[in-house]
Symmetry: C2
Subunit: 428 residues, 2 copies
């Protein structure tokens, strides 16, 4: 095959610029590996006049990404606009309707409309690939869809928002409170325009929902992802968790069991010595578990021009090589509605609380836990200067519901100061 594969690239921000640069710099390499030239026919962005440091004059320009998606000289529509509606969605739908393949980095679009888009693509005999939507340059969509295709996948976990991991590890290393490090991250340009996409876990939740669909053969179900951001994590939690051998991560977990499909994107404690526990800064890590393969860990840059463009190009080259995969690894019609789990898999929990420093206070708390069937693995009471005592408890494995009941009941003991904080300890 020596027919060129012709791209139309919508969106010339960081990632789009990175893709243009790779196509220009590595033309020979791409042709050798793809078996055909990879070229750009046309591009589109909001502002034509903006100086991007790119040589674009050989490409047609379209102001409207929908028009770009429909061009006869475009084989693959590369959507790097972003957003779960508006131009990105319209253009992807237009590309599919025109029978063109789509490569996208848009996790929000697929988390919200993945099933409908997958069905449309199959009807049009087009493919949608989205390696760049999950964990940047790490080829995790490929590893899960293809590399682990012979496995009954049992669990998918990941630290998939580099900004949150930067904030949590920076709080620990610099001993700074959340608000200060949040501001630092903002000043460094690490945060999305709506920071809640990052620190609220939404962006990472989108990614988790996509991986869960592939892993378990279910329709993407972002609405069932249990989301909890990192805004309530204090420097005390981080220090005291460390003291007990743990680190705090915004950890995504998707797991299928008799209970149904659990999808959580919440702060968790993980053993400090585990690969997830050792992950510093903005790096991403995804852990895939299958019945045959055991545990596979993938680590790399989760964002940035080069890594994300690398993932886009992997999808482009797959298409150039003639690889045709269903969007989520199975025909869209075969994907079952995700059976959302009513209760979560039991786990150990870390509980931080402040007690009044009087005789019998700790015994009262321990009694409440015992009455709810929760046994204590470890307990620590810290030095204190005033009339209250900080106390940490690590429980044995228990259902979250039992824990919530126990925490509610603790209020009745009269020894509690403020609200206890409970964080799940994930077995990694």
């Amino acid at each position: 095959m020596s027919t060129p594969l012709r791209l139309g690239i919508a969106g010339l921000g960081t990632v789009g610029a990175g893709v243009v640069k790779i196509v220009q710099r590595h033309a020979a390499l791409l042709e050798a590996r793809s078996g055909r030239p990879v070229t750009i026919s046309a591009v589109s962005a909001r502002d034509r006049t903006k100086e991007r440091g790119l040589r674009l004059k050989d490409y047609a320009w379209e102001d409207d990404p929908v028009a770009l998606a429909r061009r006869d000289d475009v084989d693959v529509f590369v959507e790097l606009v972003g957003g779960d509606s508006g131009p990105a969605r319209n253009a992807v739908e237009a590309a599919i309707a025109a029978g063109k393949d789509v490569v996208t980095a848009n996790k929000a679009l697929l988390a919200h409309h993945g099933q409908a888009l997958a069905e449309a693509a199959e009807a049009a005999d087009a493919v949608i690939r989205f390696e760049a939507a999950v964990a940047g340059g790490i080829p995790v969509v490929k590893a899960l869809t293809e590399g682990l295709a012979g496995n009954d996948v049992t669990r998918v976990m990941g630290v998939m928002n580099g900004t949150c991991n930067y904030i949590l590890t920076r709080m620990e290393s610099a001993g700074l409170p959340y608000a200060d490090v949040f501001q630092e991250a903002a000043d460094l340009g690490y945060l999305e325009a709506d920071p809640n996409l990052d620190v609220g876990g939404i962006d990472a939740g989108h990614k988790l929902a996509l991986l869960a669909a592939i892993a378990f053969g279910t329709q993407v179900d972002f609405d069932s992802v249990q989301l909890e951001g990192i805004g309530r994590i204090t420097i005390d939690d981080i220090r005291q968790a460390a003291d007990m051998g743990f680190r705090v991560k915004l950890l995504g977990v998707a797991q299928m069991s008799g209970r149904g499909l659990e999808q959580r994107m919440t702060p968790c404690l993980v053993p400090a010595a585990s690969p997830l526990g050792q992950l510093e800064g903005g790096t991403n890590m995804v852990v895939l578990e299958g019945d045959s393969v055991g545990q596979i860990v993938l680590r790399g840059a989760g964002a940035g021009m080069g890594p994300t463009a690398s993932a886009v190009m992997a999808d482009v080259i797959d298409i150039a090589r003639g690889t045709r995969l269903s969007t989520f690894g199975q025909p869209a019609a075969a994907l079952k509605p995700a059976p959302a789990a009513s209760t979560g898999t039991p786990a150990s929990f870390y509980i931080r609380m402040t007690l009044q420093d009087k005789p019998g206070a700790l015994a009262k708390i321990a009694t409440v836990l015992g009455e709810n069937g929760i046994s204590i693995d470890r307990m620590r009471q810290y030095d204190h200067a005033d009339t209250t005592a900080p106390v940490l408890i690590v429980t044995h494995r228990t259902a979250r519901a039992a824990l919530d009941t126990a925490i509610a009941a603790m209020a009745g003991t009269g020894v509690l100061v403020g609200e206890p904080v409970a964080i799940r300890i994930e077995d990694v």
Copy 2:
């Protein structure tokens, strides 16, 4: 497509049995993901009467793997016999000649005959896939061939022999000498029949040569891999390296530069805090570096029934899905002869030596290093009870040739007791 993909499996050892089990246990899952049933037509092994705990009666039996490879009811020949010649090679050649696709876990066969087999496969319009040949269940061949296809790959590194990593980490944790842990590994059945395949670095060297061919678009060139086993690593090296913040690994490094292609499978020091440094026991880790993606780390089980069978099935499902790739990611005719590097990339080195405990001894050694243009980063002299002093030196970056010249010249100082040991410190 609902035509079944029909396998012929040659070799029913651990991996072959694992593949049969997956095909039987996950028939529905494989069909859903492949878009067609995956079935077994026939099997072959040396001893038909051996009890394997497998249900084989539905499959035809062939005593001769070559006959199996030629069967009309076999679409994919799965070669799990092993060995770089004899039945494995004959059967793979027969399968290709008959136009059948080949999935193999045989690193030795491909390391020695990969180019010829790739050419034959392309001439016959067949594909050869070998995910299981490198790092067991880790989908590293896929990550490199496809996931990083948009990158100019700059370096590939890996701990790819679990037995060696087990021995080295066990020496450290148990404080035991090499010979004792070697015997333990033998007793546990961790060693190949010819243990030099493991501890001599040959098995891991085969894997490195395969990855290098994909990474750099060169013909597989196992003969140019610089091989050095772990047999000369002492518990002192491990302890003293640890003392300076390093761990000893049998590390494969393939790197293309102006010097040519370097391929090394040798003991190296890596920072103890790096992912490679933290790798314990029999686990494998591969590090891929590309100009866009930066550094990707993959970690998982490097051997065993489940992980290796998982990798075999990934290749089978790729074929079932219609994915057709060149063996090494580019047409065989496009692969260039590997330009073996005459000198290696400069690095820091760890040097352990014993000096006579007399005034000026250390100065003489430092002078020799300086005369050869080697500057010292750190130096330690250890407590000692007799008339000799153990000394460790960590150099700044230097060419290996300069170091070898310096070490040879040290003999002339008259202060050296025995031979210095030098171990490369790889920048990871």
